[in-house]
Subunit: 388 residues, 4 copies
């Protein structure tokens, strides 16, 4: 079994990316509740992300969403991040919030709309280069609401074409992630609804295109850790968008709905060392804090991934393998359950102290006065809707 | 078997209510696409609803949503409707779009918020009286996102209290409908998630409180016609919000996702005559036309309910009962399937001609020039979000 | 907060009933794998249940399934149980394994079949009296596979009639539980598919009829703890059939699929003291151990319920209530999560030692030699299928 | 648009394979109800299949399940089929009904079990050659019930190895189909749970391995026609197991649960001509008739696929494409709906008369006296369980 120090060593090097959009206002279709502490622009979002990193020690990068985070000068934004000890992580194009995209973006029946959408993808490749980001992370809101509304195969062909052009434009050092989602905003088809679709496009593109697993984007009952294990076996897992859900794409705090599932996912990751620095697998959060405060929600989420990783590191791999080989059903299951049942909070507190940070990040945040300060500063926010 | 003329006679008297909010802009949490033809205020919404009635002959009332449809003078609004040959139908309170309601309305932990929410319910009772509406139709967006966020039982008690006060305020001739919904916007609990919860509140209130079934508000796999049959047997089905869904509360055109399910629901209705005038069961549409034109979408939806009703009327009830009694599984099923397989479009075209309307309502709409006209008139719409 | 000693005192008195059928062979429709250690008759099943009680200290009764556990002389069976320190728990009629029941039992269109089925229910009331059982626990496999196959409302009426007759025959001291299940073996309707149906029948019967919640019998996404809380508020929760599932009615070990859900259910129970002796809520297991050994599977299941209860007892109810009142979303959630994150295994080991049993029931079972002994003794088992 | 005669010409050539196991007794885990008319051996099953073909005209082959249909002399069996005007279709290995397979077959941790299972696959290749079958159709019941029970990736490796060996043994003219299934009998993982897994194995094997879509094997909400369209686009759709379901793998008559879904699937098929003779896509039924008579159930199922195909052929492809190109959401949907709303029963009756068969196959079956005859002949059946 891995020793406590080895486990801490592994955890110390974990890298969990938070998304800029988690720091702004988000909501449901019924209402975006304004949070007076919500960040108002990319600079403030990076500041909030930097605070999350300072308090947790393992969140040193922040993902951007374009155009929500579009700025005139990316060098300045990148420098701003660096000064706060942060890097810019994945660049996420947004091609669903302009009226032209009502029927799709790169899958739209009209080539002019597709051209515009693909141009935005290419712009995002350029931004990735400009800010030193290793990744362009693609999620397409494309889909249809009614049977017959558009041709499923034709849309796949259009998608493939846009992906090829984007892939071809990517320089060395920039990779592509292709996310899938079962439904929403498309309510009949989504053009990339599942990992089978994403994988088949990635295989057609080449080794720099890989599948992104968003933990909230599956049909009820889907075994996510199975997909993770299969993608790892095929060398095609590009990363995660972590969040949790009870019903659909609820975008709740990761680990809040089913912490045992999160642990099982991390256990597959740890089994092949994909949690380590240098792994090809990106750990990113993607959540909407509709009713809770945003910075502490991200802190808690980072901690939840960290706790699940710690428990996964506690799994006695030799005992597990032995029980599996013997066909000892309950014994093998018991090895996993034992790790999950362990309270890793003391271990993580110890690790944080060794890293020179507060053992209690949530308490430290409360004591920091950040919430009170930004509520005053940002009170005049006029942001409406996502990205506002 | 019912004769063709009897079937037409039944269909001629059908009453399907369209909702004012179907004529305005709606969208998903990702984007509200503006439709230049969307109605801009309650008066225009009633005009659009009246057009749907003129073209279909069976949609003579329109439901309102308060405050989206709040006006200074309800008598004038009611008169406007009457002049267009319409009645005001169900009054739907909206207690989810103000910042105070972030954690709930009548279930909120803070009594001040509950007071405000209940006052809005009472206002809606007054509006119902003012406009001559027979129904206050309640849907609560109340719920929680995280385990422990609030006390489930305490919230039920608060809900019961607000319902009692509202029920007590309802004069003769006004009834209460209580809608349930599995999830959204609450992603952990909804305070009225299923028919069991709705029914138990209605039983506690009295005979004027009945369950409203929204066809998109169930867990995957739920047999809706079973619930309808049980509520009919118990005398507690108050009405429907019709729409359709493939995944969640997709709010697509009724009948668009699973026309056979719609037929089975109507078959339970027709079996007890609950489609007839004077029935206690209200037929209302509740849909969001995010990407399609709104008036034709409502026309098509009314026609879809009408077609399902016509097929339900075609079911040979004696043959069905005989096969059921004999335990003839495939024979009994075959009786239903035969009715569903019948093309009722010619029958409905004939009925429309007898009613003095165009046999092809969708074509008549296209030829009416309405879309072109309102697109020009309403171009300046500044509505944002639902109700805007 | 409750002290450690108080928590142990509560746990010491917990009562978890195991089912006789968990000790025999079970399987899927594809295959019943024979386990050479499976109990062959009611006497052996009670012996196995007694062993589970000896090793866990909190499983002092065993539920019977009739006719699987039919014997000539119930007094002798009851005495056998008493000698082993056990009581006979709930009596479960089985009216789905005779050819007459192909189209239903008490809901069958043929009154002769209904008579036979109701007579079996009455027999089970007599057996309950004979063995001193407090409960007749009803699950009906009745349902239909095809739309139209039978009349939904007529079947409800037939069900109500059989329940009334059975209820009327129940003497003081014997209560009725009415279980619901979404699907299987009926694949279109089940006659009691959800808690709304069960509750409405129980309300019609009287106070001795209450709802039984089987944790594996819900549609995907159903919030079970919400149902539990509502039934507790209404005073109509009769008990549980505990098990767990990833997909459908998988009948896996309770807590094996989602231990956090089990904890949340227990937290609702503990909040109203319904885990205590004298509570009206029965805690019963109902699982199928298709591929794992049966006795250790029941031991582990009892332990899982016990661990979830211990964690539920650790919830700081005052802190929870305070955070809820303040609308502190993450704070309130954090109180629950803190309890769940605690490792209660040491506490339970301590409790067991105080109770004079082995702190490690699974290890104690392995060391007991029971498996080896019964594998030899029971090798000649010819049982086929459930109950065989 | 396609003319009526062209449509009939297409339908005349349709080929729908029925499965031998549909003619024997099947059931749920709770009970296998014996049907006195059920076929008792492979010879009788082929006779029943031949009757279905005689009455429908489009079901000229029958799939076998080994060992349920194992005979000493396959040449004789094949000749028996030919004399009845039938061919032997897909050979389906069964590696889940022996005690060794409790923890899996080709994925089992023990190499001896894997050897035995793979040998059975190789035997089935030999049988396919012996009977002139073009296909070995693989479904693996392999999976696990508990997290940690076995290593997901190791099981994939073992599966890949067995598939490679089997694939290598397949002579020209024999292809492999790889079926996927979300759950059951595995309740935590299945080793081939979805089309992504099946496709990635087929890609690794070569062009003769293709994906089989069983319409009942998906998670709730899965859009099956999307998968069908993607597999067609990739040239990797091998065939169907048709059936229908409301909940899980209910194995009801195809088209009985959602006829509109079946139509949409067939519409994707027809759009690329994959329904035609010479297409690489096999149309097979795979159903369990637990409570209904078996031969008429297969007749009705063949008719349901035929009706869905007829409606798919009625789709006005030019109008559909035009509306799609224009972004006319409701117009495009309307083209599909118009085809679906058409009553094709008269067309099919006409086609049958032209083919020299009774226009009413169900009525013809009733009049044939087959049921009465075989009930007498087969009364002594002692078959128990599937395949018995």
């Amino acid at each position: 079994m891995t020793s406590k120090n080895e486990i801490k060593q592994e955890l110390r090097q974990q890298w969990i990316e938070t998304p800029s959009w988690a720091y702004g206002n988000t909501g449901t279709r019924f209402k975006v509740y304004r949070n007076p502490a919500a960040a108002r622009d990319p600079y403030e979002k990076i500041e909030d992300a930097a605070l999350v990193h300072r308090l947790t020690g393992v969140a040193p990068s922040v993902a951007l969403h374009i155009p929500w985070d579009r700025v005139d000068d990316y060098a300045t934004l990148s420098k701003h991040a660096a000064e706060l000890g942060m890097r810019i992580g994945a660049i996420n194009p947004n091609i669903f919030q302009e009226d032209e995209y009502r029927l799709g973006s790169v899958c739209h029946p009209d080539p002019k709309v597709r051209r515009k959408a693909t141009d935005h993808l290419l712009e995002c490749v350029d931004i990735a280069v400009a800010v030193g980001s290793p990744t362009v992370s693609l999620w397409f809101a494309d889909g249809t609401n009614y049977p017959g509304q558009d041709d499923i195969r034709a849309r796949q062909d259009r998608l493939a074409e846009a992906l090829r052009e984007t892939y071809a434009a990517m320089p060395d050092g920039v990779g592509m992630l292709l996310e899938y989602k079962l439904f929403e905003p498309g309510f009949y088809t989504m053009d990339v609804p599942d990992w089978g679709t994403s994988l088949s496009h990635c295989l057609a593109l080449g080794p720099k295109a890989n599948v992104l697993v968003d933990t909230g984007h599956h049909a009820p009952g889907t075994n996510i850790e199975f997909i993770v294990a299969c993608l790892l076996r095929l060398g095609r897992l590009g990363g995660f968008h972590f969040n949790s859900r009870f019903y659909a794409d609820d975008d709740l705090l990761v680990g809040a709905a089913d912490p045992y599932q999160l642990f099982r996912i991390l256990s597959e990751i740890v089994a092949v060392g994909a949690h380590r620095p240098g792994s090809a697998v990106a750990f990113m959060l993607d959540q909407c804090h509709n009713i809770e405060d945003k910075v502490p929600a991200e802190i808690r989420s980072v901690m939840n991934v960290q706790e699940a990783t710690a428990k996964a590191l506690l799994v006695d791999r030799e005992a597990l393998k032995a029980a599996q080989q013997e066909g000892d059903v309950m014994g093998a299951n018991g090895v996993l359950v034992d790790a999950f049942s362990t309270d890793v909070r003391p271990l993580l507190a110890e690790l944080r102290e060794e890293m020179g940070i507060d053992p209690d990040p949530i308490g430290a945040y409360a004591r920091s006065g950040h919430a009170e300060r930004v509520r005053a500063e940002r009170a005049g926010s006029t942001g409406v809707g996502w990205g506002g």
